[in-house]
Symmetry: C2
Subunit: 232 residues, 2 copies
DNA sequence: CGAATCTTTGAATCCTCTCAAGTCTTGTGG
DNA sequence: CCACAAGACTTGAGAGGATTCAAAGATTCG
């Protein structure tokens, strides 16, 4: 486990175009003025990560924050027994690693893994810290990012951990479809991941997913790519 | 539902002694200097709330924040069907109502109800807003409060919504005991509340609690007050 | 191509729910 | 102060959903 590299696979895309960032409304520092953005330009790098890539690992020293532009990430923690639970799913606009920004020596609290191809910006922790101590008047931007985590946590509880397993899975599929963007097609997480998210077992999940496919609720496009039936 | 008063019962204690606040380490504005604290002194009021009192109600306009000094509060939301789920429990040091501070017209997102006698300070929203726009350099204090909510949300997921119902209940009892302070004695929430927190039904919960009492894990002190067996 | 891993599916078991009736508690009004 | 009604808790019996265990296909990856 500790032998793996942090990123199983990623591609460097050069300096990001923060100023024209497509999701400028919602992404970290999105409402800073252009002067401040130029500071970022020189130190932030934009990368593509493959499905399964690990952005950061629970317990590792916090080097950078990750601002998610496209894709879905699972946030999980593992207890001392080694079993992992998924705390929440994060989509475009979320920033990963915030828990470490309060105390400079805090390691990552959880592991973040790509559930789809990601487009994300990597922000060195020092740059973030300097920017915030120089410009605390932008603190609301940061608080909004924390709020997004809290909303995702509440979603997990209300949508993915309540009611019968069938409903929970349906809610997850809807969330994945929503994060997926225009086409609405998404990669199906593994049975283990769906289990770690819903509290169910891979066996039970496999049974129910088979029902969904047979019942015409879930359609396969190609490979592991699926889409949901349009609800009227 | 909408006919009820906001606070079913509370007692005004006058202006709080913020400077010597017993939980100064962890409560809102705890690390501000004395000059700033004096601003608070003039507008913050300290109250005691009875068990069952509602601090704020989901959907109501956000008038004030509540800084919890002693006691336990349940944070719940109700879906359109009217069924309520408890998202988390908050104890001393938490501040309730933060979700409304980003956008001045946001109503409370959830309902906060006392699960024990509370000692809490009520902070007018305008005072908070002014303090933050005048002194954004203290933003980390606020972020720490958000972090506390997120940790409580994660606790719900990991401790109160995972594993068998018996374990979930045991974890809740431990948390209540932890929040209870020195004596470790706490009020038992209703079967409905324990159900809304664990995802179980009052019947199942009653059965398991009866087992705990018979098994010597849970002891009654008086009335509805209980304490846990000391674990070696 | 073969090993490891994941998915699928069956059968038996277990936990939790539902429904229901009886008991206890609580608050209100006479 | 007591009686009553409403609501909460308790407990039983039966039903159902989900788990466990196991074995047989798929997939993935080197």
């Amino acid at each position: 486990m500790s032998g793996k590299s942090i990123c199983t696979s990623f591609e460097w895309r050069g300096r990001p175009d923060c100023i024209n960032c497509a999701v400028r409304q919602s992404v970290l520092f999105a409402d800073l003025d252009e002067e401040l953005l130029s500071v970022l330009l020189s130190s932030v790098s934009n990368c593509l990560y493959d499905t399964g890539a690990t952005l950061c690992r629970q317990g590792d020293p916090a080097i950078s924050l990750f601002s998610l532009r496209k894709g879905v990430v699972k946030i999980e923690v593992s207890d001392r027994n080694g079993d992992a639970s998924i705390l929440r799913l994060l989509g475009p606009g979320a920033v990963i690693g915030l828990e470490t920004t309060l105390d400079s020596v805090e390691p990552y609290h959880c592991t973040a893994t790509a559930l789809s191809r990601l487009d994300a910006c990597r922000i060195p922790m020092q740059v973030f810290q300097r920017l915030m101590s120089d410009h605390p008047e932008h603190y609301k931007v940061i608080v909004r990012l924390w709020k997004k985590h809290l909303e995702a946590a509440d979603e997990t509880l209300l949508q993915f951990r309540s009611g019968e397993l069938k409903e929970r899975l349906l809610n997850i599929l809807n969330t994945l479809s929503r994060f997926a963007g225009e086409r609405g097609t998404f990669l199906l997480p593994s049975g283990r991941d769906l289990g770690a998210l819903t509290g169910g077992t891979p066996s039970s999940i496999s049974r129910i997913m088979a029902d969904f496919k047979r019942g015409g609720i879930l359609h396969q496009r190609d490979g592991n790519t699926y889409f949901l039936q349009q609800e009227e």
